[in-house]
């Protein structure tokens, strides 16, 4: 359970071997490359490869065309060593043009069908009139317009009440009125203009339609049917085009992805005259595999050096954890990635999270349910699901201590009597005598965790040779002595009844550490620049004084913060007590329903709150003391290619 050891790899070869090396390089799914820009500015005579990428625009175009044609492009490895971009582009455009023509034809036919349907709607309106359409359209002194008008606009016709037209509405829906207006040829232009300004949508009756509205309807139904057959033919043609293109475009896609990736990989290549190099990090165990990948290529050197051998580069971090603790890296990475030399907090987070969650959410039944739910989601790839399994296990274990199974406090009593020869459960949460012990216990856990975090911080800092932070800060040795001494004094006075607060103790354990913390910045400044107080002492004193004051309060607050653990134990038990009381009140007929729903409610609400509260304790009370999280994650660039 640590951070995986890395090695710095440098691949060097002649420029004429660039494409071959990049082809091989793009197959490496364990290589974390460093961009060339990190080296180019600092090495004279070096350069990057900055040609325009010919593959990316075509790849984008292919993706656009495929989306339009509803083709899902699936990716697999391409074996091609070369492709003709112009030829591919020509084929794609030809196929797409054919598709576009079919699509346009389809839209036109659909429009005709829609117009016929609208016309049929009008014919339905005219059915009762018993007039032949031929007679309507043959009128010499009347112009007839069928269509639909927005209902708002029907109201507005009052403004034109003096104009020469007759308006008749047949029926209305929520937005439109299906209607007709009549006018004379002389005024047709003006009236058409008025109705157009009111957003009248004219419905043209096709010229092939004759006879009565019923006959017209029949004719248009036939026309619709014919058009739908045409539509079917067009659809068949479209499907044919699409199926022809599916495999072809998928092949082009794979090729273009490969060549685009290779071209993009040039951003990691540093040109050094006639040679080039690619630098990056590889997990120690994979170094041989990288060397083997290039072993058959002549004049390609693979240099293997320690991770820190190049001061310009920060080794990336890959966390390595066991089955139990691995899912908790999700929380760690949420805060930040540990740097390569930093302590991996994942195991500590795993153990403390499980412990605190188990204490606050102890119930055998609910713990088992949480495990099952967590397992269900873990199977679907959710990291939180995996965490759920582990914290569910912890809840179950603590549930055995509390003797609680879905809120039933007496269910496990026979087990305690027969197996453990105990009169009752080990811990009765709701007992008034237990409350004080619970709160003191949670404070004790908090103190232990805080001290542990400070110790980790000291070790971390000393490893990095950051002696000022390691020794003089509030989370360093000075802070540890201050905090530890205060805790010891309290324990000594309250438990052992010994007063340790003599002047010697106070000076060594309180005053001296406080002075060191107070002067931390000044000491750092003295070591770095030779001047202890670069700005005046007055300003330094004011600032440092309030900082020290804040540090003392923070110690107190952080310690008291762990009281919430005890609070949630009581609240969980209290909520289950309420559920049981309600179940009793409801009676045996529906009591079981109340118990089930109550448990679900408590699991969801309390589970979520407890999870968030423990995370808060982890991040705020613990991480802030020892974890910086400024690392860079290990990202093998070509993992998904």
């Amino acid at each position: 359970m640590a951070i995986t050891k890395m090695r710095l790899i440098n691949i060097v070869a002649d420029v004429d071997k660039l494409d071959d090396v990049l082809t091989r390089f793009c197959t490496l799914d364990m290589f974390h490359p460093e961009p060339a820009s990190k080296f180019v500015d600092q090495v004279k005579g070096s350069a990057t490869f900055e040609d325009a990428n010919p593959y990316e625009p075509l790849l984008q175009r292919l993706q656009e065309v495929s989306t339009d044609m509803n083709i899902d492009l699936t990716h697999h490895m391409s074996n091609k060593t070369d492709i003709d971009v112009d030829e591919i582009e020509k084929i794609i455009e030809t196929k797409y043009n054919r598709f576009s023509l079919c699509k346009q034809a389809k839209q036109e036919v659909e429009q005709v069908i829609q117009e016929d349907k609208d016309a049929i709607q009008q014919m339905i309106n005219l059915e009762d009139l018993g007039i032949s359409l031929d007679e309507i359209f043959a009128c010499k002194y009347l112009q007839v317009r069928f269509g639909r008008l927005p209902l708002d606009s029907v109201e507005k016709l009052k403004y034109y009440s003096g104009k020469p037209f007759i308006f008749k509405s047949f029926n209305t829906d929520s937005v439109y009125s299906w209607c007709v207006y009549l006018t004379t040829p002389k005024y047709a232009g003006e009236i058409d203009n008025i109705f157009s300004s009111l957003y009248f949508e004219r419905i043209h009756i096709p010229s092939f339609v004759h006879g009565t509205p019923e006959k017209a309807k029949e004719n248009m139904m036939i026309d619709i049917e014919l058009n739908q057959q045409t539509l079917k033919h067009i659809d068949d043609e479209l499907n044919k085009v699409i199926s022809e293109c599916r495999d072809l475009f998928t092949e082009y896609y794979c090729d273009l992805v490969k060549f685009n990736t290779m071209f993009e990989a040039r951003k990691y290549v540093v040109r050094l005259g006639e040679r080039f190099s690619i630098t990056g990090f590889v997990v120690e165990n994979d170094v041989e595999a990288v060397k083997k990948a290039f072993s058959d290529m002549k004049n390609v050197e693979v240099e293997d050096r320690p991770a820190h051998s190049d001061k310009r580069l920060t080794p990336p971090t890959k966390l390595k954890n066991g089955w139990l603790t691995r899912p908790f890296s999700f929380f760690v990475e949420m805060y930040g990635m540990p740097s390569y030399d930093e302590f991996d907090p994942t195991p500590l987070v795993a153990i403390s999270y499980m412990l605190l969650f188990g204490i606050m959410f102890g119930d055998v039944g609910q713990g088992i349910v949480l495990m099952l739910v967590g397992y269900f989601f873990a199977r679907r790839g959710m990291k939180l699901g995996e965490i759920g399994v582990r914290i569910g296990l912890s809840s179950t274990i603590f549930g055995f201590f509390y003797g609680s199974v879905f809120g039933f406090e007496e269910l496990l009593n026979p087990l305690y009597k027969t197996v453990f020869h105990m009169h009752e459960k080990p811990i009765d949460v709701m007992s008034s005598s237990f409350t004080m012990q619970l709160l003191i216990g949670t404070i004790a856990i908090g103190i232990t965790l805080i001290i542990l975090c400070m110790v980790i911080n000291i070790i971390n800092r000393l490893k990095k040779h950051d002696y000022i932070e390691g020794l003089c800060s509030q989370n360093g040795l000075a802070g540890l002595v201050l905090y530890g001494s205060a805790i010891f004094a309290v324990i000594a006075m309250m438990v052992l009844k010994i007063n340790v607060l003599n002047p010697f103790y106070i000076i060594i354990c309180f005053v001296l550490p406080l002075i060191v913390i107070f002067l931390k910045e000044a000491i750092a400044s003295k070591i770095a620049t030779g001047i202890m107080f670069p700005e005046k002492f007055g300003g330094y004193f004011t600032e440092a004084f309030f900082e020290v004051f804040e540090i003392i309060l923070t110690f107190l607050a952080n310690t008291m913060s762990f009281l919430r653990v005890g609070g949630f134990v009581l609240s969980h038990a209290g909520m289950m007590l309420v559920v049981m009381t309600l179940a009793e009140m409801v009676g045996p007929a529906f009591g079981w329903l109340v118990i089930i729903l109550g448990n679900i409610f408590v699991m969801c609400l309390e589970g979520m709150i407890v999870g968030i509260q423990v995370l808060r304790l982890e991040f705020y009370e613990m991480f802030s003391r020892y974890f910086e999280g400024n690392g860079v994650g290990f990202k093998p660039t070509f993992q998904e290619v």
């Binding site: 927005p150 708002d152 109201e155 403004y159 929520s174 937005v175 009111l198 949508e201």
Partner: protein, 342 residues
């Protein structure tokens, strides 16, 4: 504050969450016809319900714009349902603004002899909410008819001195109505709100007024060479959020370029390039958009959130109308894009 008022804040934020995104605007700018725009809005955005009966092939530009305006109005009215009983009057100010805009549109139509366009765009869907019957506009042929329509309304007293059949000054009419509107809004806020809520709301209203004033000052300087006295007559009264000294400098500036220079150093940080395509109103709208978005994201006052939503919704509507009209009249997408605020 009642619980339902807090409900308004949540509802407004939820509705704002559905507003068009940068991606939607980019897609709309690629369209070549009004029908394509209607099709995109119908199938990909929350306007699907509003446009469900629209036929993309034959929809008229004006009709599409009317439907979008109606959708915007319906959304705002939906929020009124959550209003506190005490503060309902404040939310009704948005209806008042719609009424005032119709009166002004009617005056413009009468003055320009283009009443048919006004009739086509007359939003009769407002009728259930307005204090006068919009159908009465259908019988207006001249200013004196308009006076009869407005006689029983609250706008008559302020507007009557400026309504003449001859030599009517539209700017005076607009000024009179806007003075009434903002004064009425502020009176409601002063009466019905207290403490921090009142302060926040008044500050927001003053910001809106001040931005309008800045636009007027700029236009008067650029197009009319207005003197400070002439400009002061058309400004709306507000508590200046800009430094008073700077405000005086702006009023006394010799040219519109000088106005821009002074405003660049103000709270609003206006850096308008006078050669660019953008008009001052576009720039002012951008500032208003940023201020409203900030209130929407950070305020907890339901009335402030409502006002912010009102502004943001109005800007989205303006964006869509700019896109529809730009496409309809073959303006290049790059030029349309300059007008879009998001």
């Amino acid at each position: 504050m009642s619980l339902s008022a807090n409900g308004m804040a949540s509802k407004a934020k939820a509705m704002y969450g559905k507003h068009l995104s940068k991606y939607d605007y980019e897609e709309l700018l690629k369209k070549h016809s009004v029908g394509e725009v209607a099709n995109y809005l119908k199938n990909n955005t929350y306007y699907s319900e509003t446009l469900k009966d629209v036929k993309e092939n034959s929809v008229h530009r004006g009709q599409l714009e009317n439907l979008l305006r109606r959708s915007s109005f319906d959304r705002r009215v939906r929020l009124h349902r959550y209003a506190d009983y005490n503060t309902k009057e404040f939310y009704k100010c948005s209806i008042e603004l719609a009424e005032i805009n119709q009166v002004l549109a009617c005056i413009r139509a009468l003055m320009s002899d283009d009443y048919t366009s006004f009739i086509a765009e007359l939003p009769l869907y407002l009728n259930p909410y307005t204090s006068y019957d919009l159908n009465e506009f259908l019988s207006v042929k001249r200013i004196s008819d308009l006076k009869k329509v407005l006689k029983s309304t609250k706008y008559y007293e302020n507007l009557n001195p400026f309504l003449n059949d001859e030599n009517m000054d539209y700017a005076e009419c607009e000024h009179a109505l806007m003075v009434y509107y903002y004064k009425h809004m502020k009176d409601i806020v002063n009466k019905k709100y207290h403490g921090k809520s009142k302060k926040e709301l008044l500050s927001m209203i003053d910001e809106m007024i001040e931005l309008k004033n800045i636009s007027k000052i700029y236009r008067m300087k650029k197009y009319f060479d207005g003197t400070p006295e002439e400009i002061k007559k058309v400004l709306l009264e507000c508590k200046n959020l800009m430094n008073k000294e700077r405000y005086e400098k702006v009023l006394n500036a010799n040219s519109s370029s000088e106005v821009v220079k002074i405003l660049a150093e103000s709270t609003y940080n206006i850096e308008l390039d006078e050669e660019s395509f953008l008009h001052i109103e576009d720039y002012i709208n951008r500032i208003q958009y940023d201020l409203a978005k900030k209130c929407m994201n950070f305020s907890t006052n339901p009335s402030v959130i409502y006002l912010a939503y009102f502004i943001l919704d109005d800007i989205e509507l303006t964006n869509l109308i700019n896109i529809v009209e730009g496409i309809r009249y073959n303006v290049s997408p790059s030029k349309i894009e300059q007008l879009i605020i998001y």
